[in-house]
């Protein structure tokens, strides 16, 4: 079982949803405009003081949503629609994906990101994680290596075929009985690298667990990795491309993402170590010049922005 917040059982959440609804009804009945406070979270800032609280996992402020601004009213409309769907999922013990939710009112939502933000707001309001709302995302991660676990009663035995990819379970809370003889966990950015390792029978000679999120890791991948480290206490190494996006993926594993900042403490794997690829590797391994691609203007802009993130100054100045 992974790290838990308090009071995230379905009944508790249903009770919180009712409480939330009731408080809005009470306000309206009294002729008052409902005022909803949503905590704001971030896991990094670009402040230069070095004194920020970004790594604490605590909220950095509150937003007040009211019936005084059109953008707030729209946000409230979306939030309530999603909340209604969540209430139904919890009451009926069903699960739905974020995409499913989007397709319930696509003309109103207009974009998936709108639904995602509403789900985040609800998680913050109800102080839970997304999977507690019975909202799931389609899993994208792969795992292989010296690992065995039980998922919702089914035995998944990667050890029998250590160079075969298995999908990372979506319902990470259903994962139990993790068993491993691995010496470390290797996280790779790309599916192509993962496949290359599999083709090279890497896990035959190396007793390890290899994971890929196939790009930016989704929540189940991050949760699964977190769970493995909590249970197995193994060193974790991360191999990403030597470019801003690779670096960003590394920081996502290590520090969490901004949009899931409210859940950062449950998702980040701060023990992860940067294995490479480093700039000097091109010399160390004599990589021919023509294999290197120059940074584009966009790439450079991204790097500039990323360098300001407070956790880089504070946590890993040696990077």
């Amino acid at each position: 079982m992974e790290g838990k917040r308090l009071n995230t059982q379905p009944l508790a959440l249903i009770r919180k949803i009712k409480g939330f609804t009731r408080s809005i009804v009470e306000d309206l009945a009294r002729g008052n405009a409902p005022l909803i406070y949503i905590d704001r979270f971030r896991n990094y800032c670009t402040g230069t003081s070095g004194n920020c609280s970004c790594s604490s996992g605590l909220p950095t402020g509150k937003e007040a949503i009211s019936l005084k601004r059109e953008c707030h009213v729209r946000r409230l409309d979306i939030l309530l629609r999603v909340l209604l769907i969540v209430q139904q999922l919890l009451q009926e013990n069903r699960h739905g994906s974020k995409r499913d939710i989007y397709y319930m009112h696509p003309t109103v939502f207009k974009e998936q990101s709108v639904v995602d933000r509403a789900i985040n707001d609800i998680c913050i309001l109800l102080q839970c994680s997304r999977h507690n709302l019975n909202v799931v995302s389609v899993g994208n991660g792969l795992v292989m290596g010296w690992l065995r676990y039980v998922e919702s009663g089914r035995k998944i035995d990667c050890i029998s075929n250590p160079n075969t990819a298995y999908p990372i379970p979506v319902h990470v809370e259903e994962v139990n009985d993790i068993l491993s003889v691995a010496q470390y966990v290797l996280v790779v950015e790309k599916e192509s690298v993962f496949q290359r390792l599999a083709n090279d029978q890497f896990c035959k000679r190396n007793h390890c667990i290899v994971i890929t999120g196939r790009g930016y890791p989704d929540v189940p991948t991050r949760r699964f990795l977190r769970l493995l480290i909590d249970k197995l206490h193994l060193p974790v190494y991360c191999l990403v491309d030597c470019d801003p996006y690779g670096f960003d993926i590394l920081t996502t594993y290590k520090f969490g993402s901004l949009q899931m900042a409210y859940d950062a403490t449950f998702l980040q794997v701060s023990e992860i170590q940067w294995l490479g690829v480093f700039v000097q590797d091109s010399d160390n391994y004599s990589i021919p010049q023509q294999c290197l691609l120059p940074l584009t203007v966009e790439d450079k802009r991204k790097v500039e922005a990323m360098l300001h993130r407070c956790y880089l100054q504070r946590e890993v100045p040696k990077w």
């Binding site: 249903i14 949803i17 009712k18 609804t21 009731r22 809005i24 009804v25 009470e26 309206l28 009945a29 002729g31 008052n32 405009a33 402020g61 509150k62 937003e63 007040a64 009211s66 019936l67 005084k68 601004r69 059109e70 953008c71 707030h72 009213v73 729209r74 409230l76 409309d77 309530l80 629609r81 909340l83 209604l84 209430q87 139904q88 009451q91 974020k98 109103v108 990101s113 995602d116 933000r117 995302s137 994208n140 790309k190 599916e191 192509s192 196939r214 790009g215 930016y216 989704d218 929540v219 491309d241 470019d243 996006y245 960003d248 996502t252 993402s257 901004l258 949009q259 899931m260």
Partner: protein, 471 residues
């Protein structure tokens, strides 16, 4: 002080104005009669307009300030002659005078005519007559239209009537009565604004030219007083705004231009008149946007003011009446004390606020209207959150908070109830936000847009599978 008469209309309006003030100055019930009598002179059709009243006697100064404009149209219609008969209570005779304003002297030539004896009778009154070369029908139509506007006001203690005299050269004393306007019994500020309100309501009802299935008049009134100008006479400005929303059977393609226009009915000292420039300025300077209205233009045609709006809903009409008067009645001799622009603005604004305060969902600012668009959806979702809950106690609790009876609980009723409350809250916030314009903004208000951008930026990364170089 001069007043240049440039048209026949202006002439008889002024005569009626003076008569009204004389009646107001008297402390007994007065009669004011406007009589149109057709006469024939040298074979040419003429109409004698006489304005007579039983108010206090008039002074010569009222008329000596009139100037005759050198205008060919006016010259064709009026010879510049004014016949005046007047007497005060204390006079022993009725003075008869002829005034020729066409003379090029700075003051018109005055000819005294033989007085008429009163034989000890105690009364006062005035009769002023002019002869106009215009068709009776045209004049009658004009004068009727003008006096019909006067119906909006109830001049205290004055009964007005419009007569048409008989068609003989002697000028019959008995004419057919076209119009009677009752006055109010006594002046009081409360009565005065009430009369204007009722008057405008009647006027609006009478002038609804299209077939309407249902009619809904929403009224707001406002009064502004000055504590006393330098001349020592306090001004009062009364304003009434009416919104009529008619459920029409006529399809919206038949929207006429007039629908998007408002004629402002304007009165000074209890007489319908042309709007003063200061009042026009006041109307221009009102922040119509905060009432959800967009003013396209203000046009002043021949003293009549038309406000033209952008994008009014097809069944939505606005009517405005403004009355500026001096609390202390004075004849028209004094300096031109234009109504205070700020007073007019204040009165109209009060009327608009009054309308908004007492009628939910009316005159909401554009911003509030946009938010109200969400009200049905918000209400429906909240109703569903309540009624789809497994917890019946919770459902009961919420419905009882909303005031929906248990036997009436269904999605529609609960939804409608919530929607009303949301609109009411939005309206309340809208009114309050106008009142508290100087109040500090919310701590997080400005962050709204920044946050949108912030979140949008970050959402490109994260969840979605990202294949950079898919080798």
């Amino acid at each position: 002080m001069e007043m240049e008469i440039s048209s026949v209309k202006m002439l008889y309006k002024h005569l009626i104005f003076c008569a009204v003030q004389r009646c107001r100055m008297a402390d007994y019930l007065c009669r004011l009669t406007v009589k149109l009598t057709p006469v024939s002179r040298f074979g040419l059709p003429l109409v004698r307009i006489s304005v007579s009243d039983t108010g206090v006697g008039s002074k010569l100064e009222d008329y000596q300030y009139l100037k005759y404009r050198n205008d060919p149209i006016l010259a064709n219609q009026w010879d510049g002659m004014l016949y005046l008969a007047t007497t005060s209570v204390s006079d022993s005779e009725i003075h008869n005078l002829n005034l020729n304003l066409k003379e090029s002297n700075s003051v018109g030539t005055l000819t005294k005519l033989p007085s008429t004896a009163k034989n000890g009778a105690k009364f006062s009154g005035t009769e002023v007559s002019v002869s106009i070369s215009k068709s009776l029908d045209d004049l009658l139509a004009e004068v009727t239209c003008f006096l019909q506007k006067m119906i909006l006001l109830k001049v205290p203690k004055v009964v007005m009537e419009l007569l048409v005299g008989g068609d003989d050269s002697l000028g019959s004393q008995i004419g057919s009565r076209i119009l009677v306007i009752e006055g109010s019994s006594v002046y009081s500020p409360v009565e005065s604004i009430k009369c204007l309100k009722l008057g405008l309501k009647d006027y609006v009802r009478k002038h609804q030219t299209r077939f309407s299935v249902g009619e809904n008049l929403k009224v707001g009134t406002g009064v502004a007083n000055s504590s006393g100008s330098s001349q020592g006479n306090s001004q009062v400005v009364e304003a009434v705004v009416i919104i009529s929303e008619m459920s029409e059977l006529v399809p919206s393609s038949c929207i006429r231009e007039q629908d998007m226009k408002t004629e402002v009915l304007y009165f000074e000292d209890f007489v319908s008149c042309s709007i003063a420039q200061s009042s026009l300025d006041a109307l221009t300077n009102i922040n119509w946007k905060s009432y959800g209205l967009a003013l396209r233009s203000i046009a002043n045609h021949d003293g009549s003011v038309m406000l033209e709006w952008e994008n009014l809903l097809p069944d939505f009409h606005i009517h405005i009446a403004i009355h500026c008067y001096h609390r202390q009645v004075k004849q028209w001799v004094a300096e031109n004390s234009l109504p205070d622009r700020n007073l007019v603005r204040k009165a109209v604004k009060c009327a608009l606020d009054d309308l908004k305060e007492n009628n939910q969902g009316v005159l909401l600012s554009r911003r509030a209207l946009k938010m109200c668009d969400y009200a049905p959806d918000l209400a429906k979702t909240l109703a569903q959150l309540i009624l789809s809950s497994n917890d019946l106690n919770f459902q009961e609790e919420c419905c009882s908070l909303l005031g929906v009876q248990s036997q009436e609980v269904n999605m529609d009723n609960v939804g409608n109830c919530i929607r009303e409350k949301i609109i009411s809250v939005i309206g309340l916030n809208d009114r309050n936000s106008q009142k508290n314009k100087e109040a500090p903004t919310f701590l997080f208000e400005d962050d709204c847009f920044q946050k949108e951008h912030f979140m949008e930026e970050e959402y490109h990364e994260g969840e979605e599978a990202y294949n950079f170089l898919d080798l």
